[in-house]
Amino acid sequence: MAIRALIIDDSSVMRKIVERSLRQAGIDLSEVFQAGNGAEALGVLKENVVDLILCDINMPVMDGLEFIKQLPSVENAKNVPVVMITTEGSEAHVVQALSCGARGYIRKPFTPEQVKEHVIPVLAGKS
């Protein structure tokens, strides 16, 4: 089944890499939305319905952790699974992200296989 994804990262190059990695992981994307920070992403979600969110942590204006905290305020997005993709790789960051509501955590640099390993169970509702 094709899904709609939102990719949030302040680097446009990284957003394109994440999209390509999702496709290489065999995930069928019907539509891909992009945002450069958490605040921009909340705006996108107010106007569009998505099935999956991939989100960086360190971003200007609104970082990824604040974005997850505010996600429940968007009615049609509050149950959308979020997978973090970030250079912040410490256990403390992972625990913090998961406690804020993230369903998965991928450290940069990553391979398409790692994206598949973390995203497929989330989409299947197993994580």
Binding site: S11, V13, N58, G89, T111
Partner: protein, 161 residues
């Protein structure tokens, strides 16, 4: 995995960290740029006119920088985006900044004490070679020089006390 405090105590010049910078850079290029960095047999002195920098603050304060030629930076962007070299435009700075960010993050994640106690700044990219960089670092920079597709790329960590 070594801890930051053990490494700092073992060697004030932090030279033990050079292999970690080397490894962090190689992994980023292999996974995200799609090519292997190689060791130069001899290092050709060419102007490295694009510099990306990421600041580190917290348990370790300093700057990690990546320097290369403009052509190499464009080639990195081309490979990261999966587009022809002549299609690359404004993404060059973004790509090199992201490479620097990932090398800095990957480096600190290899040293347990740094992973949690050190924050990264957003990357800054400077183009052109007509500038002097004055760092508050109190020790010589840790440098790794490698080849990316035959052109030099320099990774440098300047540490502040």
């Amino acid at each position: 995995m070594k801890t930051a405090s053990r490494l700092m105590a073992a060697n004030d010049s932090h030279e033990n960290w050079i292999p970690f910078i080397d490894m962090a850079a190689r992994e980023v290029f292999e996974l995200m740029v799609g090519c292997q960095l190689t060791v130069p047999e001899s290092y050709e002195e060419v102007p490295l006119d694009v510099t990306a920098m990421v600041g580190l603050a917290g348990q370790l304060c300093g700057v990690l920088s990546v320097r290369c030629t403009g052509k190499a930076a464009s080639l990195m962007a081309s490979k990261m985006l999966g587009v022809d070299l002549d299609k690359v435009g404004s993404e060059v700075s973004d790509a090199l900044g992201e490479v620097c960010n990932m090398v800095a993050g990957n480096f600190k994640n290899k040293i347990s004490g740094l992973s949690e106690g050190c924050m990264l700044s957003p990357p800054t990219v400077i183009t052109g070679s007509d500038y002097d960089l004055h760092s508050m670092a109190d020790s010589p920079a840790l440098e790794v020089r490698l080849l990316f597709e035959g052109t030099p790329v320099q990774f440098s960590l300047q540490i502040h006390s």
